[in-house]
Amino acid sequence: MKNLLEHTGIAPGRLHFSWISSAESTKFVDVVKKITEEVKALEPALNYAKTEPKVN
């Protein structure tokens, strides 16, 4: 999944997978924090964001 998205031009680092048990709340928080920071550092990827079509 990750490979094809990156293959078609989604920058590496934007899609993350992690194995977190429902009991591992602290790990979840840590991972989310880390990824949020990393993705923020990449700046918004506008190319795969659908925008409202322009009216003339």
């Binding site: 094809l4 293959h7 078609t8 031009g9 997978f17 992690s18 991972v31």
Partner: protein
């Protein structure tokens, strides 16, 4: 390949005469050059309608999905691999099928042929390794290897992997071909270049879904693009929606695609839609040593869990 047509007719007539099948699925001669039409014959007398040449690029496994009848089916290497996939996925039972195997030296890409001549092609003749196309004021003989469909050019499973009948001796399998050369080329690009590459690739897409409908794997009763509750993807020509369709179509073929090329053959706009599925085929091969449809004895990698499955994408 010479003589395949006669042999197919002979086998079809025999199977129908003996009552072993209710119908035989093959190709009949098309009404325009380099086009053949998938066709059913249901009586021995109809067997003469069947033909075989280098323009049988569609995948006939597409026509047996969920069938209740006993079917004779003409199958080249890739078709046979999709029959295997169909059997594994319970879309048809092995004992419903009499597989008429066709060793294949590759199908011709008619867009490539057209690009090699000026003017409209009105007739085509072929020998074992060349085709001669003619039109108003020209006639040109082209080596088949020069105009093969791209999937055929890199195919290493030209002989049917399962069959009940064979129309000829097995052909030599290609060796030393790099099946994933085109994928590697894209892999070497930067994310932005990759993005633009695919943007350009699908820029002419009209969302007719011929790629999806020509694919034997695409048998869902309702495709995700047709769902309205929830609506997964918009229906307009918005490039994001077009890309989403192509990406998700490819994902749905992961670990199942035999690279039969029916999607590309069917595309009216000549889009190389295999560029999406090919990457997943490469990953499946590299991660699991898997090529779809080679055997009835193994479950596909996305169907099973093993403790040693590669997991370096998980952090």
């Amino acid at each position: 390949m010479t003589g395949y047509t006669e042999k197919i007719r002979e086998i079809a007539a025999r199977l129908l005469t003996e009552g072993k099948v209710d119908r035989v699925i093959g190709f009949r001669k098309g009404t325009v050059p380099m086009m053949n039409q998938p066709h059913y014959v249901t009586s021995p007398a109809m067997a003469v309608e069947l033909i075989w040449d280098s323009h049988c690029g569609l995948n006939l496994a597409n026509y047996v999905t969920d069938s209740k009848e006993r079917i004779g089916i003409v199958a080249k290497g890739c078709d046979s691999r999709n029959l295997v996939t169909h059997i594994i996925e319970n879309k048809i039972k092995r004992d419903q099928l009499v597989i008429i195997g066709v060793p294949c030296t590759g199908m011709v890409d008619r867009n490539k042929v057209c690009a090699r001549v000026e003017g409209e092609i009105t007739s085509v003749e072929e020998t074992d390794d060349a085709i001669t196309v003619s039109g108003n004021g020209f006639s040109k003989t082209i080596a088949k290897t020069d105009v093969l469909r791209e999937n055929c050019a890199v195919c290493t499973h030209r002989n049917p992997v399962i069959h009940d009948e064979m129309v000829g001796e097995p052909v030599a399998e290609q060796t030393g071909v790099d099946a994933y050369a085109s994928v590697k080329k894209v892999e070497a690009l930067s994310p932005e270049e990759k993005w633009n590459y695919f943007e350009d690739l699908i820029s002419t897409c009209i969302r007719c879904y011929a790629c999806r409908n020509a694919c034997p794997l695409c048998y869902c009763p309702t495709c995700f693009v047709d769902e309205s509750r929830p609506q997964w993807v918009g229906k307009s020509q918005d490039p994001i929606d077009v890309r989403t369709f192509h990406l998700l179509r490819a994902y749905h073929c992961a670990g199942r695609c035999t690279d039969c090329g029916a999607c590309e053959t069917a595309c009216p706009m000549g889009i190389k839609v295999r560029e999406f599925t090919k990457k997943l085929n490469k990953d499946c091969f590299e991660l699991y040593g898997w090529e779809a449809g080679l055997t009835l004895d193994k479950r596909p990698p996305l169907d099973v869990y093993k403790t040693d499955d590669p997991d370096d994408f998980i952090r």
